[in-house]
């Protein structure tokens, strides 16, 4: 499989949010605005690429019976690393996403890619797969965040265009997250089927 195809597969055919429906907890919780969705996506992308690479490199040396604990340790290390770095250099971002960063450890996407892809493929391919799936996750979260922000707060990427009035607040809260996610999923799969 070409490396380019690995990346586009993660973006479209294996899109973690709209097709595989993995990682729903951070998806619903952090997409109150486009910026938040984007940064959560990028944080997951980082963990995904790093853990995919390390896991594909060490997997021949790891006995089958203990591979899940070893993978979890690797993933948790990168998540903690990310958490420390965010706390130190992007404190404002850490404040909004702080609660959900540790949850990346148990994000099905990360362990799922490690199990389903990285332990059977080489380092380069695994990195490409991580980039693809990570970008797919980032793109979906950004779109979802953007839609919710436009409907819920009347702004896009923090730029307000309805002049201080309230948007449809339900979309900033949990019910709106489910509604938007559902409709976006329908649209995505409709276009996917057509092509």
């Amino acid at each position: 499989m070409s490396k380019f195809k690995l990346i586009t597969d993660g973006l479209v055919k294996n899109n973690p949010t709209f097709v595989l429906l993995l990682g729903m907890c951070p998806t619903l919780a952090t997409t109150t605005s486009a910026i938040n969705g984007l940064s959560m996506g990028l944080a997951t992308l980082f963990v995904l690429v790093m853990s995919n690479m390390v896991i594909s490199a060490i997997s021949p040396k790891v006995p089958d019976k203990v591979h899940i604990p070893v993978y979890i340790v690797v993933i948790a290390t990168f998540v903690t690393l990310l958490q420390l770095l965010m706390q130190a250099y992007t404190p404002a971002m850490y404040e909004t996403l702080g609660l959900f960063i540790p949850l990346i450890v148990v994000n099905c996407i990360v362990l799922g890619r490690a199990e389903a892809f990285a332990n059977k493929h080489g380092v380069i391919e695994s990195a490409c797969d991580g980039i693809g799936v990570g970008l797919g996750f980032t793109a979906s979260l950004t779109v979802l965040g953007l839609v919710r922000e436009i409907l819920g707060s009347g702004s896009a990427f923090g730029y307000n265009f309805i002049g201080g009035h309230d948007g449809m607040l339900a979309f900033v809260m949990a019910p709106g997250a489910f509604l938007c996610l559902g409709y976006l999923m329908v649209l995505f799969n409709k276009f996917l089927k057509k092509n």
Binding site: T32, I58, S59, P60, K61, V62, P63, D64, K65, V66, H67, P69, V70, V73, V74, A76, T77, T80, L81, L84, L85, Q87, A88, Y89, P91, E95, G152, S153, D166, G167, L169, V172, M173
Partner: protein, 192 residues
Amino acid sequence: MAVKSNLSNMVLALGMSCLFCSAMLGGAYALTKEPIEKAQAEKTKGAISQVLPHFETLEYVEDQHYYTALDGDKVVGYAIESSAMGFGGNINLMVGITPDGVVYNTSVLSHSETPGLGAKCNTDTKFMDQWKGFDPSVKQLSVKKDGGDVDAITASTITSRAYTQAVVNALQVFNELGLNKTNDDKEEVDHE
């Protein structure tokens, strides 16, 4: 192909990966410790400079959780952290009080109020501006619905009450600690 799952192999794999990962995290912790502390101190300082007039140095009174802001030798005010239970959790405020007992300004450190309703306590300028120069000896510290002088945020009375309560708590700390120094000189004469 993966190595055999016998005891020594498993112990080795787990032991090595844990050892390596903890070494990495230890290193990262040591490297980021200073920037993290700096970022937090910066945030607190930012909040304090928002709620007090211009100052040069800050003194933290650790056991009482308040900051004294000094400009030269002159005390320009006190920044007191306080909190009260809002609609969705605690609302944490930094309340700046000048030595004459007047609230200089307030700022929200953290809250978990409903977006678009209670969360406006952090963005609604009309609500926030009324705390600038709020003199508790002239005005009643409770929301208008309860007979006070605080304009509540529309549709967020609980949040507004909590915000008011947090300011009341801060003023209480201020008074209990005897920071009220309107008659500073006179007091000193009395002591002598």
